[in-house]
C-alpha cells in the first residue's frame, strides 16, 4: 500500500465552501470518475439491501441446495447451475446460492474496506499532524515509527493475529482493526510533509502571534487545508483495504465461514476453475469492479481537487 508517491500536493488556500460547486462541475466532466461513483453507489446499495435482493429469488447465502448438485458435488446444469432460482448458479459441494453469496459478500468487503480506511486515515492524520507541526524529537520518533510500519511484514503479522485472537472476538471488527492499524503509515507521511510546509505559511504564523492555542492552529488552521488530500487518499486506500480483506480471506484467516466473503469464494473457486469457471467469475468480477470503481473515482477526485495535476492525464 505505498500510495504516497504521486498524490496531491498541498491544496493550500482553497476554501472548501467555495470550491464545492466547481468541484462538482469538474467531476461531472470526467465520465470515468462518474462511472466509478455510480458503481460505488450501486455496490453500497447492494450491501445495504442484501437481504432483500437475495430474497428476490427466494434464497439466502446459508441454505444448502444439494439437489442443485450432481453426484460428484459439482453444480448441475449450464454455467455452474444458473437457473431461475439461482441467478449466478450455486456453490460446488454445498449448493448455496452464489448470487446471495456475492450480494452478502459486498457487505464484508465494504465494511472492512471503509472501516479499515477510516481507522487508517484517523491514525495517520493525527500522527502526521503532530509530527509535522511540533517537529523536533516528536517528529523524529514519529518518523521512525512510520519507517518501521513501512518495512513491517504486515501480512504475516495479520495472519498470526488472526490465528491467536479468540473466536469470541467479532471477526469483522478484528479485520478492520488489523488492516487499519497496518495501513496508516503512508497517509501519516504525506500529512506530515504537508504540515511541515503549512506551518510556515503566513496565516499560521499570524495565528501563533495572536496567541492561538496549538489545538486551534492544528485543527482549525492546518487540518482544513489537508482535507482534500485526505479525502483523495482515502478513496485510493479503500480498494487496497478491500484487497487486503480479500487476500486474508483467500488465505483462510479472514472472516470465518459461513459468512460470505469474496476473497474466500475466490480462494475456493481456484481449485474448481476447470470444472465450474462461473464460481470464480462472479465473485472475481465483483471484487474487480469495486476496486476499479474506487480507483477511477479517486483519480477523478484528485484531478478535480488539484487543478495542477489535470494536464498530466488529459
Amino acid at each position: 500500500m505505498s500510495l504516497d508517491h504521486d498524490i496531491v500536493g498541498p491544496v493550500a488556500s482553497m476554501k472548501t465552501s467555495r470550491s464545492s460547486s466547481t468541484l462538482l462541475s469538474r467531476l461531472r466532466r470526467d465520465r470515468l470518475a462518474i462511472a466509478g461513483l455510480v458503481t460505488i453507489v450501486v455496490f453500497v446499495l447492494v450491501a445495504i439491501f442484501a437481504p432483500f435482493l437475495s430474497s428476490l429469488s427466494g434464497n439466502d447465502p446459508y441454505t444448502y441446495h444439494l439437489d442443485a448438485l450432481d453426484s460428484s458435488g459439482a453444480p448441475a446444469g449450464w454455467g455452474g447451475g444458473i437457473s431461475a432460482a439461482h441467478w449466478f448458479g450455486v456453490e460446488p459441494l454445498t449448493g448455496r446460492d452464489l448470487f446471495s453469496i456475492v450480494v452478502y459478500g459486498s457487505r464484508t468487503s465494504l465494511v472492512v474496506g471503509l472501516g479499515a480506511t477510516f481507522l487508517a486515515m484517523l491514525l495517520g492524520t493525527v500522527v502526521g499532524l503532530v509530527a509535522g507541526y511540533f517537529g523536533g524529537w516528536v517528529d523524529t520518533v514519529a518518523s521512525r515509527i512510520i519507517d518501521v510500519m513501512f518495512g513491517f511484514p504486515s501480512l504475516i503479522f495479520m495472519i498470526a493475529l488472526g490465528a491467536i485472537v479468540p473466536v469470541s472476538f467479532p471477526r469483522l471488527v478484528l479485520l478492520v482493526v488489523i488492516i487499519g492499524f497496518f495501513g496508516w503509515a503512508s497517509i501519516a507521511r504525506v500529512v506530515r510533509g504537508q504540515t511541515l510546509a503549512l506551518r510556515k505559511q503566513g496565516y499560521v504564523r499570524a495565528s501563533t502571534a495572536l496567541g492561538a492555542s496549538h489545538g486551534h492552529i492544528l485543527f482549525r488552521q492546518i487540518l482544513p487545508n489537508l482535507s482534500a488530500t485526505i479525502v483523495v487518499f482515502s478513496t485510493i486506500t479503500i480498494p487496497a483495504t478491500i484487497g487486503s480483506e480479500a487476500a486474508l480471506s483467500f488465505l483462510g484467516v479472514g472472516v470465518a465461514p459461513p459468512t460470505p466473503s469474496w476473497g474466500r469464494s475466490i480462494g475456493d473457486a481456484v481449485t474448481w476453475f476447470s470444472v465450474t469457471p462461473m464460481y470464480l467469475v462472479f465473485p472475481g468480477v465483483a471484487l474487480f469492479l469495486i476496486t476499479l470503481a474506487f480507483n477511477v473515482f479517486g483519480d477523478g477526485l484528485r484531478d478535480a481537487l488539484d487543478p495542477r495535476s489535470r494536464g498530466v492525464r488529459s
Binding site: 446459508y62 441454505t63 444448502y64 444439494l66 448438485l69 450432481d70 453426484s71 460428484s72 458435488g73 459439482a74 460446488p92 459441494l93 454445498t94 449448493g95 490465528a163 473466536v167 483462510g252 484467516v253 470465518a256 465461514p257 459461513p258 480462494g267 475456493d268 481456484v270 481449485t271 474448481w272 476447470s274 470444472v275
Partner: protein, 574 residues
C-alpha cells in the same frame, strides 16, 4: 501429529508418508478387510487398481504434500506398505492384495510369531541372508536395539502400542543411558523373544510397526538417523534435498529371495516434496512428460474428483479405496449442555450427513456411516440407533432438545476446524445441519498443528470437531480404544469427545484381553453399541480415498486395508 487423523488432505497425506501416530493415526482407513467389508461400497465409484507382472527399471516419482520424511523408525507412524516400508523391513509386515483381506505376513522373521500357552510370550526367528546396506548381517540384537530406542524420550512421535504391552515398558527410558529392556530377549543372533504384561492377540500386527525395524547400534546417531537411515529393504536413501526431494536408489545387499512382499520394480524412487494437492492432481490428470511415471501420495481433492469424472483418460488412472476410515463429528461431552445425553442424541438427528458426504466429494468421497467399527472388521455388527434420513431428522432433534431442558440458543457451540478449504466445507456442512434444529454453531478455523493441539492437549476448550480415524491395524481394538477409552483424554490422546464411561472402559479392557478373535469381536460390537447409546460422536461417513497415477505406472492399487496405495509393489511399464 499430522499423521494422526485424517481430517484434511494435508494431514492425510502426511500420514501416508510419515504416518502417523498410531493412534490417531492417519486418516482414513481401514477399509474392509474381509470379504464382506465392502458391503457399503458402491463399486461404480471407482476402481481399486490392478496388478500385472512387475517390470524392473525406470524412475518412479511420488508427488507428496509433505515437506519432509522422517526415516527414523522410532519416530514414525508410517503404514507398513508406504514410504518407510521401502527402506526399512520389520519382523512382520502386511500382505495386501487387491480385493483380499489384509493379513499379517512374515518379513524379517520366518513366521508371524510363536505364542506361549498363556499368550504372553512371543518368539520370532530371523530368516537367513539378511544384510544391512553396508553388508553387515541383520541380527536379533539390531531389532532389540531398534525397539529399545523407541522408548527414549528424545525420540518421540512414533506408534506406542508396544510400550505399554512389553513388561517393564512403563518405566524404561531407552538404551542411551545404558539400560536394556529385559522383557526382550535375544538368546542368539536369530531369535528374539518378547514378554508381554498380558495376553495380546494382535501382537503380530504390532511387530509390523516401524519401531520393529532393525537399527545397527554402531551406526545410530539420533540427530541424523531421521535423514540417513541404514537400509534393510530394497532401497536406500541416496540423496536428500531438504524440502525439495528425496531420492532412493537400489540397495544391492537386499536379497529378493528373502522378501515376499516387495517387488522393487523401479531402479530409482524420487519423492517430490511440498507439492500442492490440487496442482498434483492437475499434473496427473494432464499426464504429460515425466508425470507419466508419477503417482500422487495425496488424496485427490473433491474439485479434481469432479474434473476426473469428465475425463475418460484420467478416470482410468483414478484409484479409489473401499470404505475406509471413519469420519465422525466429536461432541465434547464435558461441556455445558453437551454433557446432557439427550442433547447429544439431538445432535445425531440434527446432523446433515448427506451434506457432509457431498462436501467429501459425494459417493466417491465416502459411504454413510452409523456405527463406529469400520466395515470388514471381525465382529462388526451393522446397526443404527438413530434411524433418520441421510439429511437428518430435524423434528426429532427439536423434540429431544425440548425433552432435555437445555436451550440451544443459550450459547454458541465452537466447532474447531482446520483452516484448509476442504476441512472448512465439511465443517460448514455440519454447522448448517445443526443450525436447522436451533443450535448456534461458530466455526473456529485453526492451522493444522494448532487444531491438533487444541484437541489433544489441555482441557478441551471446544465443543465440536470433525475428525477421521484410520486404525493402525485391522482390529476393532484400533477403532474403539484410542477414541473412547477414558485413558486417551488429553495428553496427546485422541479421545476428543472426552468420553469417559466406566462401563465402556471395562468392555474395552475385557475385549483387549480376549485372545479368541471371534469372542473379542462380539465384545467389541457390544462396546460399539454401548458407546453409540451415549452418543459422544456422530458417525458421518466411511471415507473413500482416491489417488491418481500416471499412465506408465503399473501395479498401483489400494488394498482392502489400509485405504492407501501399496508403494512396495508399484512399478513402471517398459
Amino acid at each position: 501429529m499430522n499423521a494422526q487423523r485424517s481430517r484434511s488432505p494435508r494431514s492425510l497425506r502426511q500420514t501416508a508418508l510419515k504416518t502417523a501416530a498410531a493412534a490417531a493415526v492417519v486418516a482414513i482407513a481401514l477399509t474392509g478387510c474381509n470379504a464382506n467389508g465392502d458391503k457399503n461400497a458402491d463399486s461404480s465409484t471407482g476402481t481399486q487398481g490392478s496388478t500385472t507382472d512387475t517390470v524392473a527399471g525406470g524412475t518412479l516419482t511420488i508427488l507428496t504434500s509433505a515437506t519432509e520424511v522422517n526415516w527414523d523408525p522410532a519416530e514414525s507412524q508410517n503404514l507398513a506398505i508406504t514410504t518407510l516400508g521401502l527402506v526399512e523391513r520389520r519382523l512382520t509386515t502386511w500382505g495386501v492384495e487387491p480385493g483380499k483381506p489384509g493379513v499379517v505376513v512374515p518379513d524379517l522373521a520366518t513366521d508371524t510369531g510363536t505364542v506361549s500357552e498363556d499368550g504372553t510370550t512371543w518368539t520370532y526367528t530371523l530368516k537367513d541372508g539378511l544384510f544391512f546396506e553396508d553388508g553387515t548381517p541383520i541380527t536379533s540384537a539390531d531389532i532389540k536395539y531398534g525397539i529399545e530406542r523407541s522408548f527414549a524420550p528424545e525420540l518421540s512421535g512414533g506408534l506406542s502400542y508396544h510400550k505399554s504391552l512389553l513388561e517393564g515398558g512403563d518405566t524404561y527410558t531407552g538404551p542411551f543411558a545404558g539400560a536394556e529392556l529385559p522383557s526382550i530377549e535375544t538368546p542368539d543372533d536369530k531369535t528374539i523373544v518378547f514378554h508381554l504384561t498380558s495376553a495380546y492377540g494382535d501382537w503380530p500386527w504390532i511387530v509390523s510397526q516401524p519401531a520393529f525395524a532393525p537399527v545397527p547400534e554402531a551406526k545410530d546417531d539420533v540427530a541424523t538417523y531421521s535423514q540417513q537411515p541404514v537400509a534393510s529393504g530394497p532401497y536406500r536413501v541416496a540423496e536428500t534435498k531438504s524440502g525439495v526431494s528425496i531420492t532412493l536408489e537400489r540397495n544391492d545387499k537386499w536379497d529378493k529371495a528373502t522378501d515376499d512382499v516387495r517387488t522393487a520394480g523401479p531402479d530409482q524412487i524420487v519423492f517430490s516434496l511440498g507439492q500442492d494437492a490440487t496442482v498434483t492432481a492437475q499434473r496427473l490428470i494432464a499426464d504429460s512428460g515425466a508425470d507419466k511415471n508419477a503417482f500422487g501420495a495425496t488424496f485427490v481433492p473433491p474439485a479434481q474428483l469432479a474434473q476426473v469424472a469428465n475425463n475418460a483418460s484420467a478416470k482410468e488412472r483414478l484409484v479409489t479405496s473401499d470404505a475406509g476410515a471413519l469420519a465422525y463429528l466429536a461432541i465434547n461431552t464435558e461441556r455445558d449442555g453437551l454433557d446432557n445425553v439427550k442433547v447429544r442424541q439431538a445432535i445425531q438427528y440434527a446432523t446433515d450427513k448427506q451434506a457432509f458426504q457431498v462436501a467429501s466429494g459425494g459417493e466417491t468421497g465416502g459411504a454413510l456411516a452409523t456405527t463406529l467399527i469400520t466395515p470388514g472388521i471381525q465382529g462388526r455388527v451393522d446397526f443404527n440407533l438413530y434411524e433418520a434420513p441421510a439429511g437428518g431428522d430435524v423434528d426429532k432433534a427439536k423434540a429431544l432438545l425440548a425433552e432435555s431442558g437445555w436451550d440451544p440458543a443459550s450459547r454458541e457451540l465452537i466447532l474447531v476446524s482446520e483452516d484448509d478449504s476442504v476441512s472448512l466445507s465439511k465443517a460448514q456442512a455440519i454447522e448448517q445441519g445443526l443450525e436447522r434444529a436451533g443450535f448456534k454453531v461458530t466455526i473456529k478455523p485453526e492451522a493444522q498443528l494448532a487444531a491438533t493441539q487444541t484437541l489433544t492437549q489441555g482441557d478441551g476448550d471446544y465443543d465440536l470437531n470433525v475428525s477421521a480415524w484410520q486404525p493402525d491395524f485391522p482390529s476393532a481394538n484400533g477403532n474403539i480404544q484410542p477414541l473412547f477409552d477414558s485413558s486417551q483424554i488429553g495428553n496427546g490422546g485422541w479421545n476428543i469427545a472426552r468420553f469417559s464411561d466406566p462401563a465402556v472402559d471395562a468392555l474395552i479392557a475385557q475385549a483387549t484381553a480376549e485372545i479368541d478373535p471371534v469372542k473379542a469381536g462380539a465384545i467389541w460390537a457390544q462396546a460399539d453399541e454401548a458407546i453409540m447409546a451415549a452418543s459422544p460422536v456422530v458417525p458421518l461417513v466411511f471415507t473413500r480415498n482416491s489417488f491418481l497415477h500416471g499412465s506408465n505406472v503399473e501395479n498401483f492399487y489400494i488394498p482392502s486395508f489400509p485405504a492407501y496405495p501399496n508403494y512396495l509393489k508399484a512399478s513402471l511399464a517398459k
